[in-house]
């Protein structure tokens, strides 16, 4: 037996691969099982939303935002209408703002549930996925009752919301929130202490706060390193400054901390929901006074809100016309994904899926 000849292996993962959460491709160079280089390739879902927006009026753009981060369409709706409202100095009726906040927090829970289920599926646990989608389904049902859609809601409008809450809807949300606390405990009992799970994610894909900031990470990806930065707290928008909630942070910046932060965020969202549902105004307008044709004054604005994935921003350049001159979305998935090649170098091939899943991307948003 002579010496075994070894050479580097170039391996293509994706674009159609279940663990890439969409059409995402990554070319990895392998030395044995260890990744020496990783090159992400994307754009398969690029639809030119920003270009299309330049020939649409603002109300027409709202459905396009649904299709960016399709797991969290409500927050996408909000960032656009919020930007336009701010530009025009519009006042949104309180009831509408409450409805927006409630759906955004429900959406955060739904989004984190999708992440939780699929992440465990990536790692090899099938049943959590079924639990997660069961509970997420209840949120989608609530949305369906509210606006007639399960995923692409097109619910918010400049100046308010399209539909008022139907009779009894608020009580249904209350019942959901109440039961979700117990479900969350079940999830922890089912997964969080599992030794195999912990050995797969503890210490994997770790980075420090300085790196996270340099890469512009946001959301749980940033908070897992201990940076307490949540736009709902630090740059409050909507009605978030009225409610009490904590910003969970991690310490080690690894996949485990990101897991813990996201799970805790579900609990904090439930807390916000409890308070919001309690204070929900029994009656009132759901649409503010809005001009017939929405023409923001000439100028520019950048607004940002905390989406389940991090900072989603909207930059509008208006020339005073009904269509934006330039509309740019700062998509958290796109920015967060940038750190992936750096994290993968030196890791084993099995950890690729763990790390990618831990970042929590939605390809519709990466490619926009």
């Amino acid at each position: 037996m002579g010496v075994i000849r070894t050479e580097e292996l170039l391996l293509n993962v994706g674009p159609q691969h279940p663990s890439t959460h969409g059409v995402f491709r990554i070319i990895v160079k392998l030395d044995g099982e260890i990744i020496t280089e990783a090159t992400p390739v994307m754009g398969y879902l690029h639809r030119g939303t920003e270009k299309l927006a330049e020939s649409l009026n603002y109300t027409q753009i709202i459905p396009y935002t649904d299709r960016m981060d399709y797991v969290s369409a409500m927050t996408n709706n909000y960032v656009l209408v919020h930007a336009v409202e701010k530009m025009m100095g519009l006042r949104v009726p309180e009831r509408a703002e409450f409805l927006r906040l409630i759906v955004m927090e429900l959406q955060r829970i739904a989004s984190h549930l999708v992440w939780w289920g699929t992440y465990l599926l990536d790692i090899g646990a099938l049943s959590p996925f079924l639990y997660a989608f069961n509970d997420r389904e209840r949120i989608l049902q609530l949305f369906n009752e509210l606006c007639g859609a399960r995923l692409t809601y097109n619910y918010m409008r400049v100046g308010g919301v399209k539909w008022d809450a139907p009779e009894g809807w608020i009580d249904k949300v209350k019942a959901f929130v109440k039961s979700m606390y117990g479900k969350l405990d079940d999830y922890h009992a089912l997964v969080s202490g599992n030794e195999i799970f912990l050995s797969r994610i503890k210490g994997v894909g770790a980075y420090d706060a300085e790196t996270a900031i340099a890469y512009g990470l946001s959301g749980a990806n940033l908070r897992s390193t201990g940076v307490k930065w949540d736009l709902r707290k630090n740059e409050p928008y909507s009605l978030y400054d009225r409610f009490e909630f904590d910003v969970p942070v991690g310490r080690n910046g690894d996949c485990y901390d990101r897991y813990v932060v996201r799970m805790e965020e579900i609990r904090q969202s439930l807390r916000i929901l409890e308070q919001a549902l309690e204070q929900f105004p029994p009656e009132g307008e759901t649409m503010g006074k809005v001009p017939r044709v929405i023409r923001p004054p000439a100028g520019e604005i950048y607004v940002r809100i905390e989406s389940p994935r991090g900072e989603i921003g909207c930059y509008i350049v208006s020339t005073g016309k009904a269509e934006p001159y330039r509309l740019k979305f700062r998509r958290p998935s796109f920015v967060n994904l940038q750190i992936l090649p750096k994290l993968l170098v030196g890791e084993s091939m099995t950890n690729l899926v763990t790390i990618l899943g831990g970042i929590d991307i939605v390809l519709g948003e990466v490619d926009c």
């Binding site: 009026n57 530009m87 017939r292 940038q338 750190i339």
Partner: protein, 327 residues
């Protein structure tokens, strides 16, 4: 017989869809807007846009009036739907009346605008009078809320009342300081202009000379007073006369925001890369290169990121013409 049979089950369905389509069109104001644009597309000619929009406007107005007068909604919806259905049948005739309508509409609009301006002036005067009284700050429900006392209402207040003696922006000192630092530590000519973007929470906005941008970026990143360690967003804008790259910076420690603009000419657009300062810039610059064709000298890996590698042209440019018009 069979035809009739086929028709009958189809009828209610048709009605439902027509009603819902009509409802969408007449339902609320902003849907009227979208209807207007549908109209615009149908009439085809882009230069006709203004008149088409106003025609759409009229239609919603009629719808709103009908619902306001207590007419059952489906009826109004039906008429609107009918209108929509006949629309493509007689485009030529419609266009004529449309132009007439547009002229009338324009006159009405101008009158309304004038009235509005007068009203706004009166409101501004009122607001100015109120600003002095202590109760004015608590007028809005937002201001009454416990934590909202910080940026939000203050910005809103500054926006709504714009009396001639404008109060200086709370961020003016920060802007002045940033300009001063750039002039002292980078170069005298580093800053082309500086302003406060009031609508955007009084965002300090600086236009930095292209040649000085890399140095200025380093200063923003490392100077302890500015400490802008977080690059939020990078946007490229094609202004037709020139190109502009906008950087939104944030200091995570102080929570201070800055917007930096770097301008470049349109024929050979190029802005120095700041990937060495903020890693975030890497993919953002690639995206801008891909979609707008701005070169970023110093970028480690400047290639397309969204479009295929062999794509011709840069789609977000205002003069972009697709190679294959079918696509």
């Amino acid at each position: 017989m069979s035809e009739e049979e086929r028709k009958r089950p189809g009828e209610p369905e048709d009605d439902v869809s027509a009603a819902s389509a009509g409802e969408q069109r007449t339902g609320t104001l902003e849907d009227g807007v979208s209807a207007a644009n549908i109209g615009e597309r149908r009439s085809g000619a882009p230069e006709d846009g203004g008149s088409a929009v106003s025609a759409g406007e009229k239609r919603t107005e009629a719808g709103a009036a009908a619902t306001g007068a207590g007419t059952p909604r489906p009826k109004a919806a039906e008429t609107a739907a009918d209108g929509a259905r006949t629309e493509p049948a007689a485009p030529a005739r419609r266009k004529e009346t449309e132009e007439e309508k547009a002229a009338r509409r324009k006159a009405a609009l101008e009158a309304r605008e004038a009235a509005k301006a007068a009203k706004a002036a009166a409101a501004a005067q009122d607001a100015a009078a109120q600003a002095g009284s202590p109760g004015a700050a608590q007028a809005g429900p937002q201001a009454a809320s416990p934590g909202a006392a910080s940026a939000g209402p203050a910005g809103a207040a500054a926006e709504t009342n714009e009396p001639p003696p404008k109060p200086p922006s709370p961020n003016q000192p920060r802007l002045d300081r940033a300009v001063q630092l750039l002039r002292e530590l980078v170069a005298d000519d580093a800053v082309e202009s500086a302003s406060i973007n009031e609508a955007n929470d009084h965002l300090p906005t600086l236009v930095v000379r292209k040649e000085r941008w890399l140095q200025a970026a380093r200063l923003f990143r490392s100077h302890e007073e500015l400490n802008a360690n977080y690059l939020r967003n990078v946007t490229g804008v094609d202004y037709e006369t020139h190109m502009e790259v906008v950087y939104h910076l944030l200091s995570l420690d102080s929570g201070h925001n800055y917007a930096i603009k770097v301008r470049t000419d349109r024929d050979r657009p190029s802005v120095p890369s700041v990937t060495t300062v903020w890693e975030t810039a890497n993919w953002n610059e690639r995206e801008i290169y891909d979609l707008l064709g701005i070169d970023f000298p110093g970028h480690p890996d400047l290639r397309r990121i969204m479009m295929p590698d062999d794509w011709e042209g840069h789609p977000l440019r205002k003069d972009y013409v697709p190679l294959d018009p079918e696509v």
